[in-house]
Symmetry: C2
Amino acid sequence: MKRLVLKFGGTSVANLERIAHVAEIVAARYQECPALAVVVSAMSGKTNELVEWTKEAAGPALHGAEYDDEYDVVVASGEQVTAGLLALALRKRGLKARSWLGWQLQLKTDTAHGKARILGCDNPAFQKSVDSGEIAVVAGFQGVDDHGRVATLGRGGSDTSAVAVAAALKAGLCDIYTDVDGVYTTDPRITPKARRLEKISYEEMLELASLGAKVLQTRSVELAMNHRVPVRVLSSFEGPVAQPNSGTLVCDEEQIVEKQVVSGVAYSRDEAKFTLIGVDDHPGVAAIIFGELADAGVNVDMIVQASAKSEGRQNIVFTAPDRDAAHAGAVLEKARDKIGYQGLNVARDVAKVSVIGVGMRSHAGVAKTMFQALSAKGINIQVISTSEIKISVLIDANYTELAVRALHTAYGLDAD
Amino acid sequence: MKRLVLKFGGTSVANLERIAHVAEIVAARYQECPALAVVVSAMSGKTNELVEWTKEAAGPALHGAEYDDEYDVVVASGEQVTAGLLALALRKRGLKARSWLGWQLQLKTDTAHGKARILGCDNPAFQKSVDSGEIAVVAGFQGVDDHGRVATLGRGGSDTSAVAVAAALKAGLCDIYTDVDGVYTTDPRITPKARRLEKISYEEMLELASLGAKVLQTRSVELAMNHRVPVRVLSSFEGPVAQPNSGTLVCDEEQIVEKQVVSGVAYSRDEAKFTLIGVDDHPGVAAIIFGELADAGVNVDMIVQASAKSEGRQNIVFTAPDRDAAHAGAVLEKARDKIGYQGLNVARDVAKVSVIGVGMRSHAGVAKTMFQALSAKGINIQVISTSEIKISVLIDANYTELAVRALHTAYGLDAD
């Protein structure tokens, strides 16, 4: 293998004992590949503490974009500490290692402080150091903008850092160590029949991540897909030497020999359903509604324009994250005259259940199986939305677990 | 005033409440001078915590130069957090402010990690920002070396950072806010008659700092003297607006109109007295003894070569910090044959008491006053050492307070 990138999250480096354990894992992996970079998060809980301090310093009411550059200065210190400590722990084991902070790595970002996007990472000194056998311990979650200011990537950004480092190094593999041992066909807390997937395609993983499976951050999967970086999710709570088939490899569809029609069942309870009743039926009305919501930063998901019309009016139904429900409601209330509607109904006791699989592209009858399985359990479908590799339905939140289990069985995903 | 530099130590920024208080002081000082830089330490206790972590990560037995670069990465994060938080607190008050980390400031140091020396600071962008009215909140204690690695200045280094920033900005004044309200004629815990000095010369302050008065770090005073930066020591625990005559100004001798013969009485209990008995009296023997000790990192202070000789042998007496006593003893034991001596005696129950004053240069009888005052109290002098502006004596440690009080009175330093 040419070069290898490992990433350890906050729970894996939560204290000095865990950091020593990570050093043990890294030492074992170094035997396998001596051109190695390790990306680390802040110690678990540390980021929250730092965020609280910034809120206290700036005042909660004032927190906003005009504070975000200094917020980044404070919060990025968490990963700096972990990177230095892991470098020390590796040296204690007799290995060559050094830390790299965002500005040393020259991981360039835009200036959207607090949620910056990575623009690139091209640092010959970094590559040279890695190729010389010196383990690079990279402070995740942080980069540097064009003005030479510290910028953080937002929550979960260390995954994205790891993939960006892997892309920059043209690494053969990016191993994301976490507190779960891979990606599952569904949430194992809902059904014990959930199975670990050996492989999953970038596209499927992207749908799963967007749908709330918290294993990998969405943007890290996008970046991996764009740069064709093979990413593996595995547990840091096992022994130092990963078993050959442990974890889940996120890779190109072509590398998956036995394709399932449906690879997994996902769900999200952070959903709210908005029904705009009696909307004026004239061209451009949808553009007005969703323009207002987009300007207010509300992330609209499913949209259904009901076909039944009467007197030139129609109903429009859409979903948005439940945490934005009050905000979205206020936006719509304010724009009532501009949009022209008779009533607004907001349902917050709804959940979204989705089945994902690249096999859908070439298989008919996938939706039929879904609707039949839900119908057999007496579950009513409120909204349907589909993509090339995903079918999502909105249902009463009380039925979430029942629906997930029924679909897991219906698509043959249950473990033996 | 052209430009102003303020520095706040760890107890002044110990928590969010104290940081808000510092912001209040800074806001008041900004009215007086809108070209302002503020240098901050880590929150009190934070550096100790980070140091402990590095020891735990690297292993206590292994701690040394080969770890110091990563030690610096970890420990420097403390000042980074405070700088960001104070910038936020200043913005909350409606002021323009931004943080500057060592690498952003381009505060260049040598590569002696953990105790780096400042080489210089020349950053036009920094000066421009300060002159534009944007308050610069500088993370103290840290710089960047030629390899682009983080370097820390060692304990108390934030004072030195502040003076370096003041020198770079050609500031009219560098105000060091601390938990005492100035420099005293002696330790107020020993005599309530100790008086705050309104002014003290760089040379006197340098002697006081070297002698263990912990108000300012020695290197910060050296740097201030070399660059002729007026430094004022004052308390951050008073109101936001400093009174015109508060604190103690450390300045050129020429600026002090009413010169005292003796300005202060200092003492140190961290002393050990070594007596090498029956040393071969041949040329170069002193070079061997103190060469061995210097190579071992022992900081030798007073040296006396006893004049009484017998059979070509002599006694050599010197002092070193008590904390190095065991180490120095071992070094001398090991070099016994190389040096050639008959016995070694180490006394650890000794203290050094010193009187300091630039007035000594032009006044006779200063030493006589000292010896008479000590003699009158029955205090025996074991070793004497003098410089142009200082007389130090080594005495039995039990008499420390008595000696300090007697000298304070004898030189007319007692408050009314």
